[in-house]
C-alpha cells in the first residue's frame, strides 16, 4: 500500500515495512522513527547502518547476532529501541522484518 511520509510517497506492506529499499532515505528513516516515538541519535544511526549492511549481505538478523556484533550489546540495543527493538529498528532502516523463526 502507498503511504505518504516526509513529503514522499513510499510503498509499505500491511505491517508498515518498506517493500522497496530504494525509496528509503534519511528523512524517511527519521519520519518512521518519529512514528515509533524515537528521536534518532548518532548511536541509532550506527545501528541502522549496521542492519542495512547485514541485510545487503543477506545475513539473517536476530537479537542474538546483534548482541555479538561488537557494535552494541543487547542491553544498549533495548535502550535505543525500547519496544520490540529488532522489529522497530528494521522498520526504521527500511529493510524487511526479520523472519526470525518458523
Amino acid at each position: 500500500m502507498e503511504k505518504s511520509i516526509a513529503g514522499k510517497s513510499i510503498t509499505v506492506n500491511e505491517e508498515g515495512y518498506l517493500t522497496d529499499f530504494s525509496q528509503w532515505d534519511k528523512t524517511v528513516g527519521e519520519a518512521l522513527a518519529a512514528e515509533a516515538e524515537i528521536t534518532l541519535t548518532p548511536r541509532h544511526w550506527d545501528v541502522i547502518r549496521y542492519l542495512q549492511d547485514e541485510h545487503k549481505n543477506q545475513v539473517a538478523l536476530s537479537i542474538r547476532r546483534i548482541g555479538k556484533s561488537g557494535l552494541v550489546d543487547i542491553k544498549e540495543f533495548y535502550q535505543l529501541f525500547p519496544v520490540a527493538p529488532l522489529k522497530t529498528a528494521t522498520k526504521i532502516a527500511g529493510i524487511p522484518k526479520p523472519a526470525s523463526c518458523i
Binding site: I74, P85, S100, C101, I102
Partner: protein, 411 residues
Amino acid sequence: MKNLIILGAGTAGTMMANHLHHHLQSPDWQISIIDEREEHHYQPGYLFLPFDIYAPEDIIKTIEEFIPKDVKLLKQKISRIVPTDNKVQLANGDELAYDILIIATGAKIAPEETEGMKGSEWHKSVFDFYTFEGALALRNKLRDWQGGKLVVHITEMPIKCPVAPLEFSFLADSFFKHKHMRDRVEITYVTPLSGAFTKPKATEALEHLLHEKGIHIESDFAIEHVDNEKKEIVDYGGRTIPFDILVTIPTNKGDALLERSGMGDDLNYVPTHKATLQSKEYANIFVLGDASNIPASKAGSVAHFEAEILTDNILRYIKGEPLLEEFDGHANCFIETGNGKALLIDFNYTHEPVEGSFPFAGIGPLRLLKESRMNHMGKLAFRWIYWNVLLKGTHIPFVSATMSESGKKFD
C-alpha cells in the same frame, strides 16, 4: 568397500539408516551409525509426561531395535569431524574414514545461555520439558501443586517443535480443570514473537484458543535473566513477569560436536542447502533434521519428509547425477488443544498453515487449523506410527514428502 557414516541415531539418523540399507549394500557399501546413547526416546511424548498422560515406559525403547542388522551401530562418543580429511574421530581415539557423511545430531536445550536459568530454582520451580529429566521433574511438581502463577515461556527462536509450548499451555488448562483447580491457576504464555505463532493465519486461530481458555499472552518478551530469589523473569527492556512455576523452553542449539569441528553457525547449526540438504561447504556431507540451519520447522515430520528426498539425492550423488532441489520445507504437526481435541497444520517454506481437509481434499478425515476429536485421535495414533512406520522409513500412505496444495483454502 565404501563407507557411509551417519552421526546420531535419533529420529532423523535412524530413518536414514532404514532407507539407505535397502540401496547401499555389502560388498560395495558399509553403512555405520554412531551414537553414544542406549535409549531412543519418543520426544513428542515429553509433552504428555508432565500431565501423567504417558508414563516413561511409553516413550523409551532401545536404539538398537530400530537399526537394521546390516548397519553397524557404534555406541561411541564422537569427538570431532575432520571434513577436510573425510574423517570422524571418536573419543576412544579411533578414526573412521567416510566417503559420505550424514549429520543427524539434532538440537538440544542450552539453559546456560540465559543468566540464572539453570540457577538454584532449576527443576524446583524452573522447569524445561524438552528433556526426559525436565519433563519428569515437572510431572512430580504438578502432581501435588496447589496452584499459583504458571508461566510458559520461550527464550528465543528457533526451537524444536515450535507448537509444543502452546500445546503445553492448552494441556495445562485442561489438566487443572480436571483437577477442579483451574480457578487457582493463572496461566501466562510468554513469547519473543509478536503473537502466538510464527505464521499469521495460525496465529489468529491459536490466539483465539488462548483467549477462550483464559490464558494470558505476553508477546515481544526477550528474556535477559531469571531472578531466582524474586521468582520472576526479566527482559532487556526491564519488563518483569512473576511466576510460581516457570516452564521455559531454553535456547536451542545444535550439538557441541559441530562447534568442536568448526562446522556450525552461532547456534551450532550446520549451513545446509535448503532444497537439496547438502552441506554448503562440503559436497560429500549431508545434513538431516534439527542439526541443519534450513528455515524449516525442527520437527520429526520434517525429518521424515527430508529423509525421503535425501535418500534420492544420496543415490544421485553416488551416481554423479545432479541433486534434486526438491525439499520444500514441508511440515505436518498436530497441536493438542486439551479436552481430547487437537488441531492439525500442514505447511512449507512458502505456504503458511490454512484451513482445509487432510490428506484427502474435501474429505479429510482430518481438519486443518480446526479443533476436532479426530485430530486428537491422530495425534495419539502417531506414537504407534512413529515406532512402527516412521522410524522404519516406510512411506506413510497418501502423505507426500512435498506439500500438497489441494483441499486447502488459500486466499
